[in-house]
Amino acid sequence: MTSPSPTRHSWYEESARGRLAHLLDPGSFTEFLGPERREFSPHLGLFNLPHQLDDGIIVGTGRLDGRPVLVAAQEGRFMGGAIGEVHGAKLTGLLRAARQMKRDVVILFDTGGVRLQEANAGELAISEIIRATLDARAEGVRVVGLLGGRAGCYGGGSLIAGCCSALVISEQGRLSVSGPEVIETNKGVEEFDSRDRALVWRTMGGKHRYLIGGVDLFVDDDVAAFRAGAVAALERPATLDQAVLTAEQARLERRLARFGDAADGTEVWARLGVAHPAGVPDLDTSAFLTIATRKREGADAAR
């Protein structure tokens, strides 16, 4: 029987707190502004919506394979992990602390983007987070993003992910500015059928993002695999200077020229030289990595 390995422990299924517990060295985590501090959203009650005591994000400090890191984990089940005022402020504060402390950061993304009910505050928070990320990176701090949650990483969340020094994704992970429903609403079902889940994953999912160089590491949907991926990502170069940005701009222009008119992930993969693009979604991790390592478009140091 080729059953799922009994030792596998799904990252996708875990809660934000559960992911942190498995990511960090045992007993090393200290939470900042924990639920008992009751720093929750002051806005949701106006909409007769329940708040969560941590506003859907856990921030704190811990050790990863002995190395001290600051961490943030979004809870994708609370309002789709959406970013509101308090949620955003906790992440901004963490990144500012990282700059001062010169300590690397790991962000466990699980978000649909800005929280509609506090959209202005949320949009402002996204900008502040991006600025804080770049400020920290300018000081040499690594900011690693982990992408494998239920809500994916969309909207403003994807913009923050784009500013990270390295990204780790699983097959279940999704990374895109516009989500499936947003595209369908604005462009019509002929352009994008959001209920066609295989299409969603072919165009936004982990394998596709890895193949086109949108992320740096591809791991199994497993808490131990994400831990190993985070450790490896923290070893990667994190230089952010003019040369890197110019190179990245050139790469994105090449990508657009090469794939801009492709209608589906499979078309992109075919152009990358993948022999059986239709079979890619069914490949297991090792078979996929064998192909991907040879064919993927390299992400360069801009990440």
Binding site: R17, N48, L49, P50, Q52, F78
Partner: protein, 104 residues
Amino acid sequence: MENLRYELSTTKPAGGTRAVGLVGVVASGNLEVLLERGEAPDRCVIDIATPAHGFAALWQAVTADFAVRMAAGGLRITINDGGARPDTVALRLAQGVHLMEKPE
């Protein structure tokens, strides 16, 4: 939002030494339960915030059974409800007490 508070007499004091415990998330059909200490050992106070109005009788029944059946004395419990069913509420409360008994 409807805010409910139940101040209950308990049969057994809560075990363990952990100061704070949290179980569950605020999602559709789910809830978060924060457990803190600080009440008298024969008393448990439960504060509930729920978007579903008009279910006070149900909350009363679930919390009353909880106070009788579980070792909840001395606990101060905060519930943020996402529209959970009574069985889920009872399960999360039991999980919370269990968590408080475990070493940190």
